[in-house]
């Protein structure tokens, strides 16, 4: 065997081991969700059951946490998508030293540990609400949305920046020359161009918010979200109901991913059809022109 063949074989073995490491723990956890045994295990397999899902559905704290997490995720999307978009647009308009200063500030939440963002948010708003009397801000849900949006806006901003890098500025100028106002250009040229990025930014923002624990555990105060309920349960001990929750989460995400893929494919197909129509029209015009030229 040549050295290259050996390399390839070794690489193949490594890839298999790597994905076993990635999926093994999750698969085993998934199996424990269906085992009758009260302790999460796969050996001995005491029989197939769906009871753990019933236990899960009857868990009031968990249901409350889930609702809270969904609500917070929704609010975070509402805050961080427009803020990230504004952040990205401003980035394309500041230059020189102001730009690196601005960049340092808006990217710093990405490079700050989540616990610190949670802590600083709580500390600041406790003080600020005491000074101003705006007590309603000092509330677990509000603080969690503020703390999470602080770094999730930076994520969405990075997504928007990547999309803006491909924006053709001449489109804007063309619209302005044709008499559009600045606001109209924003509404009818820039926003439609950003639409796919807005979609993926919203998805990323929601998922980051939904599964966040580090920031939330500080900012949520006495309230609870799904992740904080989960962490509390896990400290009390392990039960297959938690595995059942993992299975449910995976099932929901897989369905979501498939739906997302279908929508995307349909959109791609539509875009392709539109491009084909445009090309046909363009060609037809060319032939018409050529015919006209020939007739003349």
């Amino acid at each position: 065997m040549s050295t290259r063949a050996i390399h390839r074989a070794l690489m193949g073995v490594y890839i298999v081991i790597f994905f076993a490491y990635l999926f093994g723990p999750l698969l085993i956890m998934g199996i424990t969700a269906f085992n009758k045994s009260a302790y999460p295990q796969i050996m001995p397999f005491e029989g197939f059951t769906l009871d753990w899902f019933a236990v899960l559905a009857a868990d009031k704290d968990m249901i409350y946490g889930l609702q809270k997490s969904l609500w917070i995720g929704f609010l975070v999307v509402l805050v961080s998508v427009p803020v990230g978009l504004a952040g990205a647009l401003v980035m394309t308009q500041v230059y020189d030293r102001a730009r690196s200063f601005y960049y340092l500030i808006v990217v710093s939440p990405v490079l700050t540990p989540g616990v610190i963002i949670g802590i600083s948010t709580v500390v600041f708003w406790r003080q600020a609400t005491q000074m101003t009397g705006l007590k309603f801000i000092y509330d677990g849900t509000v603080l969690t949305v503020l703390a999470q949006s602080s770094f999730i806006s930076a994520y969405t901003m990075l997504i928007f920046l990547a999309r803006l890098a491909r924006f053709d500025r001449t489109l804007e100028e063309a619209a302005l020359d044709l008499g559009a106002s600045r606001a109209q250009v924003f509404r009818h040229v820039l926003l439609p161009f950003m639409l796919p990025a807005i979609g993926s930014a919203a998805v990323i923002a929601f998922l980051s918010s939904f599964e966040n624990y580090n920031t939330t555990t500080f900012a949520i105060l006495a309230d609870k979200t799904l992740t904080t309920v989960l962490a509390g349960r896990m400290r009390q001990g392990t039960t297959p109901a938690l595995s059942a929750l993992a299975v449910a989460v995976v099932a929901v995400t897989i369905v979501g991913a498939i739906l997302f893929e279908i929508v995307k494919r349909r959109e791609d197909a539509r875009a392709k059809a539109r491009a084909a129509t445009a090309e046909r029209a363009f060609n037809a015009e060319l032939t018409a022109d050529a015919a006209g030229a020939a007739a003349a």
């Binding site: 490594y14 796969i42 102001a98 808006v106 990217v107 708003w125 602080s150 500080f218 400290r235």
Partner: protein
């Protein structure tokens, strides 16, 4: 010094800095005269300009800068009951930082051994995990970027992302199922006859370290993949034609080219590991004290927020030092890392 000064700084400094930049912009425009480029409001139209200013202003000032400043301010204050805030006893002090180093004034130890040890362990293990993640990811990232065809690449990407749809806490739970005394690995080893007594993987921190290495693998993977992907294929071909052995190609061509990716991956993995709180809570052995749970306890067990803020700042400082160290080591700029 009386500490309402701190409050004035927090509430006045950010607007002053913003005003300073606005003033500089105005002066610059005046200097350039009619040659100046289109102004911010003219360029965006006032509705959009207003939206941009309000959104970015609220975000940077109220959600990023002021909270951090408030935390710094609080960390230099003594623990007081709320009625005494701003009173004569509320002055700046280094007490919270002194406590981190030397412990309570009544203790007989010279140093605050528990907290210092936890901090040292957190930083040290985070560095090791970062290196480990690089070692695990590098071959796969190289394979994806240079060897795999488009169909296989798509499949591998999907398989990489899929496990990370599961929540961080549930992922840690999966490792707990594997590694407890009645866990799957112990059961399997016992059944094979490799051991007669279950091994306590949790107390030995095997569970914690493998869980942490797993938790933030993806960050390193994508950073490396993106960096290696931009490498010109001809460079590798040329080196191969000139007879370079495979490890030469990696040490002298691929890795130098991937430096920004390695830097950004290392920064993210280190920061996330050092700041992680779920995995240490769920997988940490009874004797292992990670730093973040200590910070949490300062806040919600000891109710000493001042000290908690100081501890959080110490952790943040460690992360900043690490980022600067990586920048220096790899000779990179911040912009190249946070991409």
């Amino acid at each position: 010094m009386h500490s309402s000064v701190g409050q004035w700084i927090i509430y006045l400094l950010p607007p002053l800095v913003v005003a300073g930049f606005a003033l500089l912009a105005v002066l610059e425009r005046r200097r350039l005269g009619p040659a100046a480029p289109l102004g911010f409001i003219d360029r965006n139209g006032w509705p959009v300009a207003l939206f941009l200013i309000v959104a970015v202003g609220l975000w940077t000032v109220f959600m990023i800068v002021m909270p951090l400043m408030a935390m710094v301010d609080l960390s230099f204050r003594p623990k007081l009951a709320p009625p005494q805030w701003g009173g004569p006893k509320d002055f700046y002090t280094l007490e919270n930082y002194r406590y981190f180093l030397f412990g309570s004034t009544t203790s007989t130890d010279n140093w605050n051994v528990t907290h210092l040890k936890a901090f040292g362990l957190t930083i040290w293990v985070s560095i090791l995990i970062t290196i480990l993640d690089f070692a695990i990811c590098y071959p796969i990232a190289f394979y994806m970027a240079r060897v795999a065809g488009p169909a296989r690449l798509r499949l591998m990407m999907l398989m990489l992302i899929a496990p990370y749809w599961v929540n961080e806490i549930l992922r840690a739970f999966a490792f707990r199922i594997l590694f407890t005394q009645q866990g799957v690995i112990n059961k399997a080893l016992l059944a094979m006859g490799a051991i007669d007594q279950p091994i306590d993987f949790i107390a030995a921190d095997v569970a914690l370290y493998s869980g942490l290495a797993y938790a933030y693998l993806l960050m390193m993977m994508f950073a490396l993949y993106n960096a290696i992907e931009t490498l010109d294929r001809n460079l590798i071909e040329a080196a191969r034609d000139l007879g370079a052995p495979w490890w030469h190609i990696h040490t002298f061509i691929v890795i130098p080219h991937a430096k920004p990716g390695i830097g950004s991956g290392a920064t993210l993995v280190f920061m996330l590991t050092a700041g992680s709180i779920a995995a240490p809570l769920i997988l940490g052995g009874p004797k292992t004290l990670w730093f973040t749970p200590i910070v949490y306890d300062r806040f919600y067990q000891a109710f000493n927020w001042q000290q908690g803020a100081a501890y959080a700042l110490i952790l943040l400082a460690a992360c900043v030092v690490f980022v600067l160290g990586v920048l220096k080591l790899f000779r990179l700029g911040l912009g190249e890392i946070a991409r």
